[in-house]
Amino acid sequence: MINRFVPDLAAALAGVSDGASIMLGGFGQVGQPVALLEALADMGLRDLTIIANNAGAAFGGMTRLLETGAVGKVVCSYPRSSDSTLFQELYAKGRIKLELTPQGTLVERMRAAGAGIPAFFTPTAAGTLLGAGKETREINGRLCVLEEALFADYALLEAWEADRWGNLSYKLSGRNFNPVMAAAAKITIAQCRHKVELGGIDPDDVITPGIYVDRVVHVPEGETAV
C-alpha cells in the first residue's frame, strides 16, 4: 500500500546530506516550506545548492542556513529582500556563489527537467549578460539562447492538502513554484496543512499528482500563510 506520509520532519529530511541541491517552493512569504526549512537548518549541512526564486533573501530557516555557511551556492532570480542584506554581505565577501537566472527561464528550466526536455531555446536573456556564453541561434527572426533543464536532488514544498498517495492541492498564491519543483527533483518532500483521506481531493482539483511526491509531513500551522 502506498503511504507517502512520514511521522515527523526528521523522517521527511532523512538522507539529505552535504553537497545536495535543494529546490525550495514558495514565492515571498506564501507557500514556503517553513517547518522543513527550519529542520534543514538544524542539520548542520555544508555546501548545499539552494534553488528558489528568493533563495538569496533571508527569512527564518533560510537566514540560519546562510549565516552558518551551509549554503555554497544559490540559483535564483532575485537574491534581494527588503528586510535583509545578509546574502549581499556573504556574496560581497565571496563566501557564496550565485547563479542568476531570469525568473521565467528559471521556472521553465525546472519545468523542462520534469517534462523530459533536456534543453530549449528562448529569447529571454539573448544578447544580455545573463545570456553570455550560452549557445545562441536566430529562430523566426529572433535571437534565442539555449537553456538546459534544471534538476535538483530534493524539492521542499508546502501544500494545502495531501492524501496518502501524495496528491497535493495548494491555496491561491501558495501554488507558485511548488508544483513545478515537485516534478524536477529526484526526491520531493512536502509539508501539508491538511491531511485528507484518499479521494479527499477531487480528481479535477489535484494540482500535483502523487507520482511526483515522495514524502509528506503533516504540519498543521494554522490557516495563515506563514
Partner: protein, 218 residues
C-alpha cells in the same frame, strides 16, 4: 547638462502613473513591474476593464485590501497583499511565465534605468560588481509582452538623459520597448527612433529634446 536648461514643472510619480494608465485600452491584459509601475492600476478609468497579471501566478489582480480584509494567501509579485477580482485565476509559476513569454500579455509596464532609440532596455543592473545582481521577471516580461512601456524619470538625479542613443548599463532586452512614459513626456519607439507623442503641461518639444540623449522626432 541640466545647468543650462530652462526649469520646467514635471509630473509627480502619481501623475506619471496616471498618464500611462490613460493610454491602456479597455480589455487589455497587463503586467505591472514592481515599484512605480504598480501605481498604474490605481489610475485606470473606472469604465475600462483592464486585467492585471502578477508573475507569481495571478491573472485578475484587484486593489490592495483594507487591513481587516487581508487574505494572507493572496500576494502579488511585489510580495504585497492584494485582492482577487471576480474572474481571477491562479496558475503555477511555469504557467504564469508561459503566459508572459508566450506573447499573451498585451502590455508590460516596467521601470527603467535607460532606454535606447532602438528600444533596448536597461533596468536590472548598474554593473556594480559588489552588489549581488537581481533580475526577477524583467527579462521575461521585456521579451514576452506585445507592448513594453517603460515608466521612468526622464533624466538621472545628476541630470543625465535616460533616453539614449545606446544603453550604457547592462541590457535587459533588445529592441522590445515600444513606449516610454517619463515625468515630462510620452515617447514612442519607432523605426526612425524616438517620437514625441505628448508632454507634461507647459513642457515644449525643445525642453524634451534638450533632456534626451538622441534625436527626438515629431
Amino acid at each position: 547638462m541640466s545647468a543650462t536648461l530652462n526649469p520646467i514643472k514635471t509630473y509627480t510619480r502619481e501623475q506619471m502613473a496616471a498618464r500611462a494608465a490613460m493610454d491602456i485600452p479597455d480589455g487589455w491584459f497587463a503586467n505591472l513591474g514592481i515599484g512605480l509601475p504598480t501605481l498604474v492600476s490605481d489610475y485606470v478609468p473606472a469604465e475600462r476593464e483592464v486585467i492585471f497579471q502578477s508573475e507569481n501566478g495571478i491573472l485578475g489582480v484587484g486593489p490592495k485590501p483594507a487591513p481587516a480584509d487581508v487574505n494572507p494567501w493572496v500576494i502579488n509579485a511585489g510580495k504585497a497583499y492584494v485582492t482577487l477580482l471576480p474572474g481571477a485565476s491562479i496558475m503555477n509559476s511555469a504557467e504564469s511565465f508561459a503566459m508572459i513569454r508566450g506573447g499573451h500579455l498585451d502590455l508590460a509596464v516596467l521601470g527603467g534605468y535607460e532606454v535606447s532609440q532602438t528600444g533596448d532596455l536597461a533596468n536590472w543592473s548598474t554593473g556594480d560588481n559588489e552588489q549581488a545582481p537581481a533580475v526577477g521577471g524583467a527579462m521575461d516580461l521585456g521579451a514576452g509582452a506585445k507592448q513594453v512601456w517603460v515608466l521612468m524619470e526622464h533624466v538621472t538625479k545628476s541630470g543625465q538623459p535616460r533616453l539614449v542613443d545606446t544603453c550604457s548599463y547592462p541590457l535587459t532586452t533588445i529592441g522590445s520597448v515600444t513606449r516610454v512614459y517619463t515625468n515630462i513626456a510620452v515617447v514612442e519607439i519607432t523605426p526612425r527612433g524616438f517620437l514625441l507623442l505628448d508632454t507634461a503641461p507647459g513642457v515644449s518639444f525643445e525642453d524634451v529634446q534638450a533632456r534626451t540623449g538622441a534625436k527626438l522626432h515629431r
